[in-house]
Structure formats: C-alpha cells, structure tokens
Amino acid sequence: MNTEQETKARWGRSRFGGSQATLISVSLLAGAVLSIAAGLLFATLNFPGNFVLATLIMAAGLLPVLSVGCWALLLDRSTLRGATKNPEISVESQWYDKAAVGVFQDVLLVCGLGAAVLSFIEVQASIGLILAGVVGLAMADFGVRYWLIKRAEG
C-alpha cells in the first residue's frame, strides 16, 4: 500500500510517461499555446483596433481553463494520489448522476419557460452571454444539488 502510494503523485503523471513536473509543464505549455491562438483569433475577429490588449485578455482568461483541460486529457488517472480505482461504482458517482438529472430538468424548464416568455417580449441580448448564463446557472445548480444530495445521503 505504501509503495503504491509512493509511486503516485499529487498531480499524477502523463499517460505517455514522464514525471509529475513534465505533465504540469506540458499542460501549461499546451494551455498557453492554445490560449494565445484563441486570443489571436478573438482579437482578429472582434477587436482589430486593440489587437494586442484583446489577445492578452482573452488568452489570460483561457489559460487556466485550457491548461487544466490539457492536464485532464494527458493524465494517467492511476498515478493520481488519492484517486479511487473504481469511481463508477462509488456512491459519489450516484450522487453525480442524480444531480445531473436534476440539472437537465432545470435547464429544460428554464430554457422552455424563457423561450415562451421571450416569444411575447422582444429582448435584444447577446446569444453568447445568454448561453454563458445558462451554463453558469447549470453549474451552480449542479453544485447546490450535489451538496444537498451528499448531505441527505452521505
């Protein structure tokens, strides 16, 4: 058990081999490259007048998300310290499923009611902002639902 724990790392190792530091470095590097590319595209399409500033702001916002995304894609989960071997049969998996089902129903309800109301009232708003709002709402809803289920069944 101890030997097994010692071979595991806090941030795990890459599925392609290498140390924990390598995985973190590659994730950060890949995240930075993708963020800058997305920033350049965003600035070109939207803010050609403030090209550098727009690129930097967008890249800075995307860097943490894309770096963590790259880490999750590259990670060999079996090398992650504290990770359960069979999460799919753990109780947390059931809590996740229950919360996700609830969120799906809530999103259907919110989008359905929203669409019905907006068919009567004309509102000018950015589709991107509306979608971001729905995603934010769904994430918050999931967090609350998961916490409530955990409290009730944990």
């Binding site: 071997k85 999460p87 049969i89 753990s90 109780v91």
Partner: protein, 65 residues
Amino acid sequence: MENNLPDHRKARGLSQQALADALGVSRQTIISLEKGRYDPSLPLAFKLSALFGCQIEDLFQPEAE
C-alpha cells in the same frame, strides 16, 4: 435495502478505509452502504460477495414490507 456489511467487515478485522481500498471505492461509499443509504450496483455487490466469500443475498436483503 438492509445489509449486514458491518458484521462481515468487522469479522475480518477490516476498517472502512481498508475495505474501500480493497474494493477500489471511496470510504464514503462504505459509510453510505453500511448506513443503508446507498444500494450498491451489481458490479459492486459482486465485488463485495467475492471479497467476503459469500452470496450477495447473504450480504443484502430486501427490506421487509
């Protein structure tokens, strides 16, 4: 669903964490199972029965109506 998981676990001198590690699940899973708040999936029930060397119905019984 009722179960006598704590008796089987204690009879083998296993802590909740040790049983969780043996099954590859979280300790919270064992806690919820023992409290009867979590009905295990078939794969988990089979793992438990194999670990304790008994039938699934020796571990879990439907609640009396």
